[in-house]
């Protein structure tokens, strides 16, 4: 005996297919979005952690000299940045640097993707950066000669 109203095993569920498909699409889209967001947040956190690692090395002594930083740069900073997979620049500001100017100062150590890249605001604007600033003692040229004055270092890290 033919069952009345029976359309078929799939046909019977046709009305529910639309909400089910919508649910699956929404769920998958949410998973993709969440995955991207988690990755993005993890990247930002790792970038900041890498910057913090570098900053511990840079301010180790509380005194940073433009000309005496080569060994620290090559032996400690660059390996640390390579291990964390980031690029970086350490900018030293002395007593004469205008504090209102962004990314000003003398670049005393860097690891960049390009050879001899000039680290300035134009270069860094295109990248996701993390910046840590610390006060340091540094050589300052005064009318009475060179003295140890108050300066600052900026440790800037970024990915490719």
């Amino acid at each position: 005996m033919a069952r009345r109203g029976f359309i078929g095993p799939i046909g019977d569920d046709i009305p529910s297919i639309f909400p089910i498909i919508a649910g699956i699409v929404l769920f998958i889209a949410t998973l993709i979005y969440a995955n991207n967001e988690f990755s993005s947040k993890n990247d930002a956190i790792n970038l900041r952690k890498a910057g913090l690692d570098l900053s511990y090395i840079v301010v180790e002594k509380g005194y940073v000299n433009q000309y005496g930083f080569g060994n620290t740069c090559n032996d400690l900073l660059k390996p640390s940045a390579t291990k964390n997979g980031v690029y970086f620049a350490v900018m030293l500001r002395d007593c004469t640097t205008d504090p209102s100017e962004s990314f000003a100062g003398t670049e005393i150590c860097s690891l960049t993707q390009e050879t001899n890249a000039e680290i300035n605001s134009t270069y860094l604007t295109e990248k996701q950066t993390s910046i840590f600033n610390y006060p340091v003692a540094t050589d300052c040229v005064t009318p009475d000669g060179t003295k140890e004055g108050l300066g600052s270092v900026s440790i800037i890290t970024w990915y490719k």
Partner: protein
Amino acid sequence: MSNALRAQASLFDGIAFLTLVMTSIAVIFVSLSGYGAMQNTIINRAHITNYLQNSFKTIYYVDASTLSAVTCNDEPYYCDSESACRANTNDCTMGCDKLTTWTGISVAELIKRDMRDYNQTTGTGLDDKFGLASAPGKLAARCAFKEIFQPFSTAGYSYMVDFKKISGQNAVQVPQLGTKMITNNKDVTSCDQTLGKEKLVVNAPFKVFKCINATPPQCEGQDFIMTACVWPTRVTATAAAS
């Protein structure tokens, strides 16, 4: 079962599934919004702690005379006379220009010279004097830490630097004589005060040698603790002073 009932039943299954999906999505979004906040807080606090520790190292190198150009920057609290400064901003002087002649001596050394005559009984501590001689350690500290903590002051944080003398199991705060202390917040007198749960404190040993005239000269090291603390006040230094 009629077609209408059959369709209604399957539609209910679909809606129930959709509800389940929406609940899962809500849970995912809630987790997502909170994710990373704790890590960021920890990194921020690590950065500030490192900053405070670094400020202690820095003052051991900075020549006191290089701070002679530090000014109030129109922030009356720092000025010698707040009222004069409020009345006429051209009259804002902090006194850092007095450090011009202190060439070849670091800020930390000047503070130690100032504290060398510390006497717990008489209360002489950071008073810009060593005996009767001038030793502007407190002034140098005020000028140095004003500059060092400028980014924090601008961002709405308060800071305080104080010193304590170790005496057995106790630590007694060294008085900072005068109306101005090493802080940008006039309501605070010590880092030991309750200053909110976001307060960060860093301590460092600060040894001061004191010699007395004798044959042979006798020197003893006095153990102090240098403490710096910062906490958010949500008011910038400039706004608080006005």
